[in-house]
Symmetry: C2
Subunit: 305 residues, 2 copies
């Protein structure tokens, strides 16, 4: 219920996923946790003839994007978020997926479901488009504003394993986000994390990468503290908005501009599709001892799928 288009996109995405799983002969069942009436209403408008297997678990409260994570998980025990995670814990579901309040999902998952042994802090990654044909996984993008070098080292291990298992990349290249390529560059956190990273021969650590290397796709994984990562992610997400605003302002200046923009937009839209963070799927909360996927609040049905 927490996503910006919930539960519509969630239901549409689940239907898309159901078809894909069915085609690959992997039986799968969806459990929608949330306001039953709203969910039924949307389901009634979908084509369920494909034999869609689902159930609904009623949870009438909603943790919103504005809710403070630590408070809401205590006060909204009957929210879709908490009920869904509890369902996962009790074994009633094998995975939990949400496009809701990231902080609340993270806090609830960590407190209710617990961490993997050896992991200091769970971490949230985000895929960034690149100039190459594959995106870069940046983590942490906001789970831990304050990090110790050891956390960054663990992020690298978790990101590496995740990309290997999901994309099949044998040995994902790991870069440490820093202000220069040389190993002597950066703040104490980056310097100490570098030292830890280079000592593990199982990690394909390529050294420091800079801000420009994220979009250049210089490494498969980019490691940073959650403060830096969150600011870069939100900056990146605002680029499309900025561009739209500048295009509109240009179009409004004259009839000729308006025509030129109208001619330009369809092509530009195709090119910019890969820049649109709504198109990217969710990423797991790495480090919790279960399967929790967090999507962008604006996740499209495709992203949910």
């Amino acid at each position: 219920m927490g996503g910006d288009f919930a539960p519509l996109h969630e239901i549409q995405g689940a239907l898309m996923a159901y078809k894909a799983f069915n085609n690959s002969n992997t039986p799968v069942e969806f459990i929608f946790v949330g306001r039953e009436a709203v969910i039924r209403d949307i389901l009634n408008k979908q084509n369920l003839d494909i034999g869609f297997r689902y159930s609904i678990v009623s949870a009438e409260e909603v943790i919103t994007m504005e809710d403070e994570a630590a408070i809401s998980i205590r006060t909204k025990k009957n929210s879709s978020l908490i009920c869904g995670i509890q369902l996962h814990k009790s074994g009633g579901a094998d995975a939990f997926i949400s496009a809701g309040n990231t902080g609340a999902v993270m806090t609830a998952a960590t407190l209710i479901l617990g961490r993997i042994k050896g992991v200091s802090r769970p971490v949230i990654g985000s895929f960034f488009p690149t100039m190459k044909d594959k995106p870069t996984l940046v983590l942490d993008v906001g789970a831990n504003a304050e990090c110790k070098p050891k956390f960054l080292y663990e992020f690298a291990i978790m990101g590496s394993i995740y990309l290997r298992e999901i994309t099949g990349l044998k040995s994902p290249k790991i870069g440490l986000l820093n202000v220069g390529e040389e190993r002597t560059k950066g703040n104490t956190l980056a310097l100490d994390a570098y030292h830890l990273l280079e000592q593990n021969p199982k990690l394909n650590f390529i050294g420091n990468v800079e801000g420009r290397d994220i979009l250049a796709g210089s490494s498969d994984v980019v490691i940073c503290d959650g403060f830096t990562g969150n600011i870069v992610l939100k900056f990146a997400e605002s680029i499309i908005t900025m561009l739209k605003s500048k295009i509109q302002s240009h179009a409004s200046k004259s009839i000729i501009n308006k025509i030129a923009v109208a001619v330009m937009v369809p092509t530009l839209r195709k090119i910019l599709k890969k820049f649109d963070y709504q198109e990217y799927c969710g990423v797991p909360l790495l480090g919790v001892n279960v399967v929790v996927i967090i999507g962008h609040g604006k996740s499209s049905p495709l992203a949910i799928k």
Copy 2:
């Protein structure tokens, strides 16, 4: 000599500036510090009939973008950078302008020229384009990878005074770059800096701003540590490169795409002009006790002017 197009853009920019100063009846004189033969060669190709007042100070060495700041300022004493700053110190010039190695300019200026009393660390700002009609000044973008709360507080004061004096804004709005708007958000550095900033009634401190607020132009000045600022700046600078790469790749896919892109590009170029960091002028190294302006390595003649 240190800029990517030096000394051509520097000379062309100086000529443009000379005309502008002359038109406003402010006599001004330029001193080119660098490889004399190269400078003379370029000057000979310019139209100097406007009565251009200049002199040349010979300095044969060049500190490159790849040179390590602390080392190069010790080993390249006869570089244009060091000779120019020494000239400024001796009173032979009233200001020093460079599009060269930022770290080297900063280190040399701080060591040779000294800091303003009360300033812990000099700081480098950079203008970012915004959705509004004025850019945002982000500082620090790389002078200090490791910051104390007090440094950020001083950056706010310096940025505020600078914008007030240069743009005429009476009370520039200052935002603290953070992972959330609430005062309880962020790492220890941001939390402590917030506390210092809110206590000064002379500062128009509007609280925390997020990554997306830079391009939104929510504040006139954005304060952050030099690690975060540098990564965001380099990320931002890479957007145009990324976009160009995606456009080229789209055009290469078919003749129809190629035509669509050819039709689109002139309009897009006009719209993106404001995104191009080469178009932005240099900013002063704030906190040193003299006038030192640092421009982007790719500074156009207009930026130099």
